[in-house]
């Protein structure tokens, strides 16, 4: 094609007068409006091209971003099953690593009511699979104007599968942790339990709640499953046999205060805390405080020996009752004569112990009781700790009654710890539920008695089992020592003779004490075998014998020949000679 200039090309493209000298008019000038249109077109084309390339650039950059810097995690996590945010609580183990409490994941069923199409049908289907739910209740839940309602927490895998197969939209599961106690009620009172949201609300679970939720490291307790089982079984048997309303027992390591076993009966299953009945929660071993009776004579003797007030050669006249501030203190099966200190101990003479306490004086008695942790609640790792009931006015009268264990109420845990201090060489350890290792040195104990005093108390306790009220506790070969305790329960103003707290606190092996063991029955009733008696010597001491026989091999205590010269010499009291009449009249009716 040729234009007017005779040059090749498209006339309208050549137009525009770009190369045209100023002032020269050419034939092209007639194309002016056409040129402008072309210009506009080119501009528009350019703009469109820029927009399109920008869009592609944006898409491209986004593509690169996705593929290279990818948000892959976010994308996949949206499709994964929902696990609730709360962390699993860490495990609780016994001293040999047996699992006592652990968290298992379980599915919990929830609904989004706004997405449920036929609430009535859905409710019927759900209750068919979960028969313990009420159809009407489920229906009202499904009709709520909310986006989230719990239907049932902690389903079994089978139930979850069944609900899943219903295929009802609006129902979904959330994985949740549930606390499981494989040993059931065995350690219920020590472990405590958790609420539905896995927060500890009793026992170790409550005390270590923050630690258990925060750390994955398990908590190692000092408790021993096997010992706990033996103690619980024996207590339960005796509780049934003597129709007692309750029982409590403890095994304590006297060398460091570790609690090896703690039983309180009746107990409960921490797996189902909602089904617990009244009274089962109550921890008789640490929360209950009782007037524990004659076991306090151990402490009275220890204080008097430690203060140098008495020696084994001394004694008191027990033929006359003590009359003080209108009270008369008598012995139930009195010997009506002068009794030496060992005799006072083995016959469990209230008059003798009372006179001893008078010589000690209220002030010194209180001082020692403070050192033995009897005036304050025990400082240990569970919240269920009883506040001891001590006299507000600690006068001479109180000193006398406290001398034989009345007028002061402490928990069995406190008494066991105090007795442990009097036999272990004289060092008091706060009882603990946490296993103590050689490396951690958080409690070295505090000295209360001298080594010499402790050695004398060991002889007295052994003598009480050999010749005194504690004969029924003698587990052959394990050199058991101990003291019975029988206290009448307070009813209003006075004491009820038929409502007893019968207990025994024992220690073994006496040559080198390792474990203190306590057993108590609440309101036992005597049987034919006990000649109707329900005192500590008859109902609690046999428990100690049976338990020691079974747990000593578990705890690695080897039996010895008790008749050997060496052992007899270690535990002999030179000043004490068994009198013939003493053997005849040795009474189990100890108070």
């Amino acid at each position: 094609m040729q234009n007017a200039d005779g040059r090749k090309g498209y006339p309208f493209i050549r137009s525009g007068g770009i190369n045209k000298p100023a002032g020269v008019r050419s034939i092209n000038d007639s194309f002016q409006p056409f040129h402008a249109a072309i210009e506009t077109g080119r501009n528009r084309l350019l703009i469109a091209a820029v927009i399109v390339s920008l869009t592609f650039a944006a898409i491209g950059s986004k593509l690169v971003e996705f593929s290279l810097l990818g948000d892959a995690d976010k994308i996949t996590s949206r499709n994964s099953t929902h696990v609730s945010k709360n962390q699993a609580r860490s495990d609780i183990l016994d001293r040999s690593g047996n699992v006592l409490a652990t968290d298992l994941t379980m599915a919990s069923l929830y609904a989004d009511p706004l997405n449920i199409l036929e609430p009535a049908k859905a409710a019927a289907a759900i209750t068919r699979i979960l028969p313990d739910l009420d159809t009407n209740k489920v229906l009202s839940l499904l009709k709520r104007k909310r986006r989230f309602v719990w239907i049932k927490r902690h389903l079994s895998p089978r139930q979850q599968q069944a609900i899943h197969q219903l295929g009802i939209p609006g129902l979904d599961f959330r994985r949740e942790y549930r606390r499981v106690y494989p040993h059931g009620s065995l350690m219920a009172h020590a472990l405590g339990y958790v609420d539905i949201d896995n927060h500890g609300i009793a026992g170790i679970e409550k005390n270590f709640d923050a630690r258990l939720q925060r750390e994955s490291r398990p908590v190692h307790l000092s408790l021993d499953v096997r010992v706990q089982h033996k103690l619980r079984t024996e207590l339960l048997t005796s509780m049934t046999r003597y129709q007692a309303t309750g029982a409590a027992g403890l095994v304590l390591d006297v060398t460091n205060g570790e609690i090896i076993s703690m039983v309180s009966l009746p107990d409960f299953d921490p797996n189902t805390p909602s089904k617990v009945m009244d009274g089962q929660h109550f921890n008789k071993a640490s929360l209950g405080v009782y007037e524990l009776g004659s076991a306090f004579k151990i402490l009275t003797s220890a204080i008097a020996l430690n203060e140098g007030i008495i020696t084994f050669r001394d004694g008191y006249d027990t033929s006359k009752p003590i009359r003080i501030s209108g009270f008369t203190i008598k012995d139930h099966h009195g010997k009506n004569r002068w009794l030496s200190v060992p005799e006072i101990f083995i016959y469990s003479s209230n008059i003798g112990a009372g006179r001893m306490a008078l010589d000690i004086g209220a002030k010194t008695q209180k001082l020692y009781f403070g050192k033995l942790g009897l005036l304050e609640p025990a400082d240990t790792e569970i919240p269920e700790i009883g506040l001891p009931i001590i006299p507000t006015n600690w006068s001479r009268t109180q000193a006398v009654t406290i001398g034989f264990g009345h007028g002061i109420s402490v928990s069995p845990l406190q008494l066991s710890a105090a007795v442990a201090a009097s036999v272990n060489g004289g060092v008091f350890f706060q009882p603990t539920f946490i296993r103590r290792s050689k490396t951690n040195t958080f409690d070295r104990g505090s000295r209360v008695f001298t080594e010499a005093t402790s050695s004398k108390i060991r002889r007295l306790l052994r003598l009480s089992v050999l010749d005194g009220t504690g004969k029924n506790a003698a587990a052959e070969g394990y050199i058991v020592g101990g003291k019975t305790g029988t206290a009448e329960k307070k009813t209003g103003a006075g004491y009820d003779k038929d409502m007893l707290i019968s207990s025994f606190v024992g220690v073994f092996p006496m040559t080198k004490p390792r474990y203190a063991i306590f057993a108590m029955l609440d309101e036992p009733i005597g049987t034919k075998e006990t000649f109707g008696r329900a005192t500590g010597g008859w109902v609690a001491a046999p428990i100690i014998k049976r338990v020691v026989e079974q747990i000593a091999p578990i705890l690695g205590i080897a039996p010895v020949n008790e008749a050997s010269q060496q052992i007899r010499r270690t535990l002999a009291i030179d000043e004490y000679q068994l009198k013939v009449e003493a053997r005849k009249l040795a009474s189990f009716k100890a108070h």
Binding site: L68, G70, A72, T76, L104, H183, L186, Q550
Partner: protein, 124 residues
């Protein structure tokens, strides 16, 4: 020359692009593999955890004592006089524990030969 450099540059760009995407996808693949391994590890750990709880449940002392009663009816807790320190065991007792090997082997052979079918084989 221009065309050559353009080709070189384009090739380089293409190669870089390919390498970049290749590495990215490889990393992604490995990451997803890692995620899967982690998931399986968690699942495995969870299972072990469940099994530990179950083991503890099955080893309840009361259950064990029930099983003992059922399957070991003659079993009783060891008596004090049945426990003895190893040092106190007499030497005679340890010596007599050695099995009389010779005697045993003789009886065995004799017994074998006495069996009629064995005698028959011996004749052949």
């Amino acid at each position: 020359m221009k065309a050559l450099s353009l080709t070189v540059w384009l090739t380089l760009a293409a190669m870089t692009g390919y390498a970049m995407f290749h590495i990215t996808f490889e990393v992604e693949r490995l990451e997803s593999e890692l995620r899967e391994v982690k998931r399986l590890t968690k699942k495995g750990k969870d299972e072990v955890h469940h099994l530990k709880a179950e083991w503890s449940y099955l080893n309840r002392p009361d259950r064990l004592s029930e099983l003992t009663k059922k399957f070991l009816p003659n079993w009783a807790a060891p008596k004090t006089n049945q426990i003895i320190a190893i040092d106190n065991l007499s030497e005679n007792l340890t010596n007599s524990d050695k099995p009389p090997k010779k005697k045993l082997s003789i009886t065995k052979t004799k017994h074998r030969l006495e069996k009629p079918e064995r005698r028959r084989y011996a004749k052949r």
